[in-house]
């Protein structure tokens, strides 16, 4: 069943065999690392995720999150990410100490974890903030309070990205799409996922686009025909719609 696609291992390294050898019950469930300094928000997000059939580890700071991942500066021991298997990181933006943005950067700088999708939550609906996070590689941006629909959307979106076969490229190509818009400024938005790249070498990790990602220029350059993955499901479109409505 496509559920096996949730194993983060598959997305992270192409060298590992695509066949999952871990026991089925671990790979069935998505494991989410939730980061929020507010105990109330932690409780709510934990419940939202559990009710959506995710395993949750909730921590109260960016530092704890890095510790959990083994990315903490103090202990840079090798991480056994086989057992950790974090499939998604969802973090609050405004936190004392390390902000969600700083955490996002640290994760994207790590060779081991940069493929893990990171979702930012914030109570402030500030476009500049959203853009900044997306440029840095955030998968999505949720305006608080978080609802079940938000969690379900993220799950679906992860399912789409990690489906085996052709669609597996879509997540990586979505980013490639963004980059290619910046660099080549060519149009045809009907770029099909398979033609955009042959090998899923993560283009996102290279901080190659100092220019704003196409997501932020969505209204101008992608006005008419939306690209296949950046359709109505795009959080930005949704945000913009709710913003102006």
């Amino acid at each position: 069943m496509a559920r096996n696609g949730f194993t983060s291992r598959r997305r992270r390294s192409e060298k590992i065999d695509a066949f999952d050898l871990t026991p089925p019950d671990h790979s069935q469930e998505v494991h989410v690392l939730a980061v929020d300094d507010s105990i109330i928000d932690r409780k709510v997000i934990e419940r939202l995720l559990r009710i959506s059939c995710c395993k949750v580890t909730a921590v109260d700071s960016g530092r704890r999150a890095l510790q959990f991942l083994g990315l903490d500066d103090e202990k840079s021991s090798s991480v056994d990410f086989d057992t950790l298997k974090v499939d998604l990181i969802i973090t609050d933006y405004c936190m004392p100490g390390m902000t969600g943005y700083e955490l996002l950067k640290k994760i994207k700088e790590s060779s081991t974890f940069k493929e893990i999708p990171v979702v930012i939550m914030s109570s402030e609906n500030i476009m500049a903030r959203i853009d900044r996070c997306l440029e840095e590689g955030a998968e999505d941006f949720i305006v608080k309070p978080v609802k079940l629909a938000d969690v379900q959307r993220i799950k679906d979106y992860m399912a789409r990205e990690t489906k085996p076969g052709n669609d597996q490229e879509s997540g990586i190509n979505k980013r490639k799409l963004r980059d290619s818009f910046d660099m080549s400024s060519v149009s045809p938005p009907s770029i099909s996922p398979s033609s955009s790249s042959s090998s899923p070498s993560s283009p996102l990790s290279s901080p190659s686009s100092p220019t704003p990602s196409s997501r932020s220029t969505l209204p101008s350059s992608l006005s008419a025909p939306s690209s296949p993955t950046n359709s109505l499901d795009s959080p930005i479109t949704r945000l913009k719609m709710t913003n102006t409505d």
Partner: protein, 212 residues
């Protein structure tokens, strides 16, 4: 709805919590759509009414209590005290997590009272100037209120925060008074809600002992 809307600064929340909501004897059908999976099958209701026993003895108290709860919820929505995020929390409550809402709300009360003490403490300082710190507390308060659907409290916090950003001490004092008032009202109403819910669960349990 004949319930009085509390005027800012003038209501005594103690009185509010004493007031009982009286309902007509028939089973109230004016539910607001709040889902309840423990509603009894109608067949049992009919059977009961044929025995001639007084209706209240047949455990129809559970229905009445549910109606009370829905009525109170509707009032709180109408007053803007709660918003749809509260409904979202209710949707997260089920058999596997039967006390979810009250757990979250109790944490919220605990945290909020800490924040209120901090805010008052700051403003009472003779040489108070740490608006930044006040802003941090207020951000937390805004966030947590928004997460549980406490709309009015949240809005007062936002106004409070604006006064703080302008270093307006008098404005902050007024906002704090209003915040404490709104918070008290919210707390009393939610306690009332949870009490009714508890009674309803008990009543439903007595009525259908086998279903426990």
């Amino acid at each position: 709805m004949t319930d009085m809307l509390p005027a800012a600064g003038s209501c005594r929340v103690g009185l509010m919590s004493q007031r009982r909501i009286n309902l007509p004897q028939q089973t109230a059908r004016e539910v607001t759509g709040y889902g309840d999976r423990r509603s009894p099958p109608p067949a049992l209701l009919c059977r009961g009414s044929k025995t001639g026993l007084p209706v209240w003895m047949l455990g129809l108290g559970a229905d009445r209590l549910r109606a009370d709860m829905n009525r109170l919820l509707a009032l709180l929505f109408h007053q803007g005290v709660l918003d749809e995020q509260f409904l979202q929390l209710q949707q997260l409550q089920d058999e596997s997590s039967p006390n979810f809402v009250s757990e979250v709300v109790n944490i919220y009360f605990h945290e909020s009272e800490k924040l209120l003490r901090n805010l008052r403490g700051l403003l009472m300082e003779r040489e108070f100037s740490d608006y930044k710190k006040m802003g941090i507390h207020l951000n937390q308060f805004v966030g947590s209120s928004s997460s549980i659907g406490a709309k009015r409290v949240r809005n007062v916090c936002v106004a409070f925060r604006a006064a703080s950003e302008q270093n307006n001490r008098a404005g902050c004092f007024r906002a704090l008074e209003l915040l404490e008032h709104e918070y008290c009202y919210l707390k009393n109403k939610l306690h009332e809600l949870f009490q009714i819910e508890q009674q309803r669960v008990l009543a439903a349990g007595i009525r259908y002992p086998m279903q426990n």
